[in-house]
């Protein structure tokens, strides 16, 4: 069954899939990787983003990606507000480890139930001109349903990376991740910086949601399927490393695609998480984490 075109297509499909995984994981790379907040509700916010894309697409014909970009600022403010609640209720009193986790579990369930109550449990999908089209270069296929999410995710990752590396606030976020006390001694307010960073992480969920609904149908509880994968990507890439997260997402996507093509799709999660376990055994801090 092995052939060059099968191999090339498997690699390309894996890269495109990995690109989408990066969009799902980038918010967690900031919130979990840099702020150490176990936001288990992140995929639920992605589903909210998907529903907003669905509503504006089905009612007004808006492109889902455009909706994702437009919704991102609103998500930012919601994220900032949630962090403020989290800080006041848990972080300030030092109860963030277990109680904080329970808090985000609660947020996840509330989001799911609210979506069910408002929109029901039917599957939701979007229409866009590029969904269903495929570009063919030689013998390699580029389905636009996967290529568009990849391109948007790559641009989002590049933008977040540049923001983190070249802006004052981006550097402040990295600083608060490294040494909160030192930052406080420099006169900066770590709570405000973390609130900003949390908002930024949640804002990416709006875009990831719009990409998710381009790829396939969405219902309120579908986000749970991505919890394990998203956290695994952040850990594999190295906590706090945006570049590492993107490469880890690509690795996971390529491994899944290659295994699905040549060995059988039921092996994909086992092999992908096997790669994670092996990498962590060799490099406990992940691919780009500080040792």
């Amino acid at each position: 069954m092995f052939s060059a075109d099968l191999l090339a297509n498997a690699v390309v499909a894996g890269i495109l899939l990995g690109g989408f995984y990066a969009a799902v994981a980038i918010g967690l790379a900031i919130v979990f990787g840099q702020l150490d907040i176990v936001n288990i509700a992140h995929p639920a916010f992605i589903i909210v983003g998907a529903y907003i894309a669905y509503i504006l697409n089905s009612r007004f014909g808006f492109d889902p990606v455009l909706v994702g970009l437009l919704a991102a600022p609103a998500f930012f403010f919601v994220g900032a507000l949630i962090y403020r609640v989290y800080f006041l209720a848990f972080e300030r009193t030092g109860q963030e480890s277990l109680s904080g986790l329970a808090f985000f579990f609660g947020v996840m369930f509330i989001i799911e139930v609210v979506l069910i109550l408002i929109y029901g449990v039917d599957y939701r999908l979007v229409q866009a001109g590029y969904i269903g089209q495929t570009w063919r270069i030689g013998f390699v296929d580029f389905p636009l349903r996967m290529l568009v999410p990849f391109a948007v995710s790559a641009a989002l990752t590049a933008a977040i990376y540049a923001y983190m590396s070249h802006t004052f606030m981006g550097r402040a976020i990295q600083a608060v991740a490294q040494d909160r006390l030192a930052l406080q001694l420099m006169g900066a307010d770590p709570v405000r910086i973390k609130q900003w960073a949390f908002g930024l992480g949640i804002a990416t969920a709006a875009i990831a949601g719009s990409l998710l609904i381009i790829i396939g149908p969405v219902e309120p509880s579908v986000g749970r399927l991505y919890i394990g994968r998203a956290f695994a990507i952040v850990v594999l890439g190295g906590m706090g490393s945006i570049k590492g997260m993107f490469i880890a997402a690509l690795i996971l996507g390529i491994v899944e695609s290659m295994v699905a093509t040549f060995a059988g799709p039921s092996w994909s999660p086992a092999v992908a998480f096997g790669v994670l376990a092996l990498t962590l055994a060799l490099r406990p801090a992940g691919l780009f984490g500080r040792q």
Partner: protein, 417 residues
């Protein structure tokens, strides 16, 4: 008319009016017959579960309008099982021990029927069940009655039509690819497909399962394509079915027959979104608006369903599950009325020997509680236009190919995208 005759006439009218008013009052004061069940109102199967509940409430209202069962009103007592099998035993225990329901029916789906079986069997209750594939195969419970028309050998009958249709074509297919989700229903469907393929001496060139969390199906379809199968049998759940159909189109899958056991292609929202990508696919179904399946009462029921389902976030047409969730209560209700009893042994005996008239046609159960004869339809999508939901409300888009007695058209073969 004399004064005394007028007086007697007035008294008679007053007594007749009082009797007429007292009858519904007595009916209302009667203790209701409680029918208990768990239902997937949240979680993965909630799309079907909520639609089923709507149709069960329509049945309850229809029955109560006609005076209830045995002169008593009917009440439904239900709890959300959240599509979690672990919740089901607790729910049925509560229904029986705390709510003291008179009758029970199952929730929706194989995974949510099986966990209730030990409790139901211990209490020796009649158990009408809703869409479980081979759920009684291990239990062999003689009071289990499955409304899904899979047939006496559910796993085999599920795909029998797909393979029989394929083998009637010229040239006859020689090879098959079987791909299924790694979950209960799809694995059962794949097991049946494998057995049917072996019986027909088809060469199985691809036989794999995929995890339910699969996002991209193009690598799977491409791997199938590499084996050049004559036909492709898919056992999948709604999101996967969408992914599989889109991937088949994107990869340009070349095969003569594609489909079989794809759940989701029966739902209006998915049909609308996939549009012309569906054309040519042959897939199972249980009811479609073709003239051959115009059973008495089904259109009246669906008209009520469409009104009740509006703005509830469930399938707007309700062709797939709702007629059957109405029918399994119809069967139970008819049995109660005919035996004039809530005695489960009498009900079970009656249900085994009787052919029921329901909105899904005549229902006759076999020895194992499945339909005595399969009516798993194989339908082919035809002439589907883009972005048009209403086209699926009427005939002509899902042509019935199998079984022959319900056939509404001939297959277009080979499959063309």
């Amino acid at each position: 008319m004399t004064h005394s005759r007028r007086k007697w006439l007035l008294i008679s009218v007053a007594l007749a009016a009082a009797a007429a008013l007292a009858a519904p009052l007595a009916h209302a004061q009667q203790k209701p017959i409680k029918i208990g069940f768990s239902m997937a109102l949240t979680g993965g199967l909630a799309g079907g579960g909520k639609g089923a509940l709507i149709s069960m409430e329509i049945w309850r209202d229809d029955v109560n309008k006609k005076g209830g069962l045995l002169g008593r009103p009917v009440a439904l007592v239900y709890y959300d099982d959240a599509t979690q099998p672990a919740n089901v035993p607790g729910i049925y225990t509560k229904l029986l021990e705390v709510d003291k329901v008179d009758l029970v029916v199952s929730g929706y789906g194989t995974n949510l029927i099986a966990p209730a079986m030990p409790i139901i069997m211990r209490k020796k209750l009649v158990f009408p069940a809703l869409f479980g594939l081979g759920a009684n195969e291990e239990f062999k419970y003689d009071r289990y009655f499955q409304i899904m028309p899979a047939g006496p050998a559910p796993k085999l009958d599920w795909s029998k039509g797909f393979f029989e249709l394929a083998m009637e074509q010229n040239p006859k297919p020689k090879s098959v690819a079987i791909v299924a989700a790694d979950a209960e229903f799809a694995l059962n469907a794949a097991e049946g497909a494998r057995a049917n393929a072996k019986k027909l001496k088809l060469d199985i060139v691809y036989d794999k399962t995929y995890p339910p969390a699969t996002t991209d199906f193009t690598p799977i379809v491409r791997a199938i394509q590499a084996t050049s199968p004559d036909i492709v049998y898919v056992g999948s759940y709604p999101p996967d079915s969408v992914g599989m159909v889109k991937a088949a189109s994107e990869v340009g899958l070349k095969t003569k027959m594609f489909g079989g056991g794809m759940v989701g292609l029966q739902f209006a929202a998915i049909q609308k979104n996939l549009g012309p990508l569906l054309n040519g696919i042959v897939n199972y179904d249980f009811w479609v608006p073709e003239p051959t399946l115009n059973f008495p009462g089904v259109n009246e029921f669906l008209a009520k369903y469409r009104v009740a389902a509006k703005d509830k976030g469930v399938d707007p047409f309700g062709h797939y599950l709702p007629p059957y969730s109405y029918a399994y209560l119809e069967v139970l209700g008819q049995a109660v009325e005919a035996t004039k009893s809530l005695d489960h042994s009498k009900l079970a005996a009656y249900m085994h020997k009787t052919t029921f008239d329901t909105v899904v046609g005549k229902v006759k159960f076999g020895k194992n509680g499945e339909w005595a004869r399969t009516r798993t339809l194989q339908v082919q999508f035809r002439d589907v236009q883009p972005d048009n939901l209403e086209q699926f409300a009427g005939p002509g888009k899902r042509i019935v190919l199998y079984p022959k007695e319900w056939k509404s058209g001939n297959i277009v073969f080979p499959y063309k995208q």
